[in-house]
């Protein structure tokens, strides 16, 4: 099995994990080439973290197989551990200790001794701009500093694969930019990165390939461009002056654009995926020409929900899942 997959950092087939009645991961295949940034995109509870934890040997799969850097996650977990690092969703650091103590502890656990452990800790702290705070307890760090220390702690030994579980959740915009730069630089240095995110923008910014998962299944995979092709250039939102005309307007838009119209929860706004801006324009013109009085309209980038809707609308029946929007639809 490893013969034809040696160029892959991650090779997973049919991974399944259940927690009681809940099937968190319901059979996922994944191939991640070495040296790439790969994003797993999905809403809360989609199974992203469980997938990551299985690949990082923290959770045993109920079914399926996977190799990470050529080592089987069930048969040779210690070998997998020797070639990965994981940064969890919450800073996995000892808050009572200083940043430097944390780094030295991990360096020693990896087998660096005495001055070598100190040197490696200081080198990483300097590289991550944490030297000034090195002797402060981690509990006094800001969110961005913690995240940087957490990622630095994953690089004591250069990992083959770095797992990042929602690396920017809870960070302010500038700290998020900082983490994005870090991730890009790490990838440039040859580290394979598998990250999970709830944000389409994050996956778009960072990842060479994106897998979209929901309800424990992979519903799409491709480059950001391929995924966007599935969702068109964006979503046209229209609201009318006369609410009683909404149904008729929805029919017209659906015919023109060949997609399904969604009503906002309050029912006053129609949303529909538009292939291109020109298509949206034409549909809007037709709407006005037919005598509808448009109160407001705008084009928006597709939200994660809308990407899901577009993907699952296209998906064949072999993926029996509901997108969040389908559930929300009246």
């Amino acid at each position: 099995m490893t013969n034809d997959t040696t160029h892959l950092a991650i090779h997973a087939r049919g991974l399944v994990r259940r927690f009681g009645d809940l099937t968190a991961v319901a059979g996922i295949d994944l191939d991640v080439r070495r040296g790439m940034i790969f994003a797993v995109l999905g809403p809360n509870g989609a199974g992203k973290t469980t997938l990551l934890r299985m690949l990082a040997t923290l959770t045993a799969p109920d079914a399926g197989t996977a190799t990470v850097m050529g080592h089987d996650i069930t048969a040779a977990p210690q070998k997998v551990r020797a070639s990965i690092a994981m940064t969890g969703q919450f800073a996995s650091l000892d808050e009572d200790l200083t940043g430097r103590d944390n780094m030295m502890m991990l360096a020693r656990l990896w087998g660096f001794r005495g001055s070598a452990a100190r040197a490696r800790a200081d080198q990483l702290l300097a590289a991550f701009e944490l030297s000034a705070a090195a002797r402060k307890q981690v509990k006094n760090y800001s969110g961005g500093m913690r995240r940087r220390l957490d990622i630095a702690a994953s690089l004591i030994v250069t990992p083959g694969v770095l797992f990042l579980d929602e690396p920017t959740t809870g960070l302010d915009p500038s700290a998020r930019q900082g983490v994005w730069q870090l991730i890009r630089q790490l990838a440039d240095s040859g580290v394979t990165i598998l990250l999970t995110t709830q944000y389409l923008e994050e996956a778009d910014q960072l990842a060479e390939r994106i897998a979209v998962i929901d309800h424990g299944r992979k519903i799409a995979e491709g480059t950001s461009r391929e995924l966007k092709a599935a969702t068109g250039s964006g979503v046209l939102h229209v609201s009318l002056v006369d609410q009683t005309q909404l149904d008729a307007a929805a029919d017209l838009l659906a015919n023109r654009l060949g997609a399904v119209v969604q009503r906002s929860p309050e029912g006053a706004e129609l949303s529909i995926l538009a292939g291109t801006a020109a298509d949206a324009n034409a549909a809007l013109t037709a709407l006005i020409a037919d005598g509808f009085t448009v109160a407001d309209f705008r084009m928006g980038a597709p939200s994660l929900d809308e990407v899901f809707f577009a993907l699952t609308g296209k998906a064949d029946t072999s993926t029996p899942m509901q997108s969040p929007l389908e559930k929300a639809a009246p």
Partner: protein
């Protein structure tokens, strides 16, 4: 490095230094793992962590010794005269017992610490490292032993100031402390299991004390069970805590028999033999 210059200006503060400035992570070389360390080396690192915690969080020592100090003072001076004729006589009886209680109570803290580590995700990091699986627990035990030694020494010191005298002298005291460490080691597993099973540190503490209060009070630590009702006495006589207190009194007064020592060690040995494998199983299963 080009994307660094392309980024919009960021507020440059102490906590938000621009990432990538010199030397920058781009300067980091590929670092291969050194020779894998042995299990003992791993465990010692965790022990070192426990010692660091004492330095950074000295308050924890206060938590550890305040209760036993209060107990020693209250029981000796408030109840001592009534219970044993004079505070001095009572202290002679009570001090070895309170040492046992101190160690037993203190073992709750490692369970709390463990629960905290799990909650914070720290153990997830440890578990993705290629280290000996039991090393984090062995390290916890190293920290525990240290805590027991420090707390025990402080309580003994206060006892000596108040007039307690171990008849068996230094040798008996050293043997008594060795016994205390064995007790702490055995009891430690109980709370490591709780720490693995219970999500919040507060619940570990509440549960711990719910178990410990009855078994330490319904023992011969504070009073001679002779005055207790028969049903209670039959429990107190076989309560492992009573057996431990009896052995400790014996060791410190130089009258301990091998039977007493053997009986006191039953619980720690049984707990270690049954719970250590359980801890490993629970840890791997999480």
């Amino acid at each position: 490095m080009t994307d660094i210059t392309a980024t919009p200006a960021e507020p440059v503060g102490n906590d938000r230094a621009p990432v990538g400035a010199a030397p920058g992570i781009a300067a980091l070389q590929h670092v291969a793992p050194p020779a894998p360390p042995g299990p003992m080396s791993n465990a010692l690192v965790f022990g070192w962590r426990a010692i660091l915690k004492f330095r950074h969080v000295p308050e924890q020592l206060f938590d550890l010794v305040m209760t036993p100090i209060m107990f020693t003072l209250l029981f000796t001076f408030v109840f001592g005269g009534a219970l044993a004729g004079s505070p001095g006589d009572y202290l002679q009886f009570f001090l070895p017992g309170i040492l046992v209680q101190t160690v037993v109570f203190n073992s709750v803290y490692s369970g709390m610490g463990l629960s905290t580590d799990f909650q914070k995700g720290l153990f997830d990091r440890f578990r993705t490292l290629p280290i000996w699986s039991l090393a984090p627990f062995a390290g916890l035990m190293v920290g525990d032993m240290l805590r027991h030694l420090i707390a025990g020494a402080i309580i003994l010191g206060i006892g000596l100031i108040l007039g307690y005298r171990p008849e068996a002298g230094a040798v008996g005291t050293v043997l008594a402390f060795a016994m205390l460490l064995s007790i702490g080691f055995g009891m430690g597993w109980v709370f490591i299991v709780l720490g693995l099973l219970v999500r919040t540190p507060m619940t570990v503490m509440t549960l711990g004390f719910t178990i410990l209060f009855p078994i330490t009070f319904a023992s011969n630590i504070m009073v001679d069970p002779a005055t207790m009702p028969d049903w209670l006495r039959s429990f107190v006589d076989v309560n492992p805590v009573s057996l431990m207190a009896t052995a400790l009194r014996g060791l410190m007064s130089g009258t301990a028999t091998l039977t007493q020592i053997g009986l006191a060690l039953i619980a720690p040995v049984v707990l270690t033999l049954t719970l250590a494998p359980l801890v490993l199983w629970l840890y791997r299963r999480r």
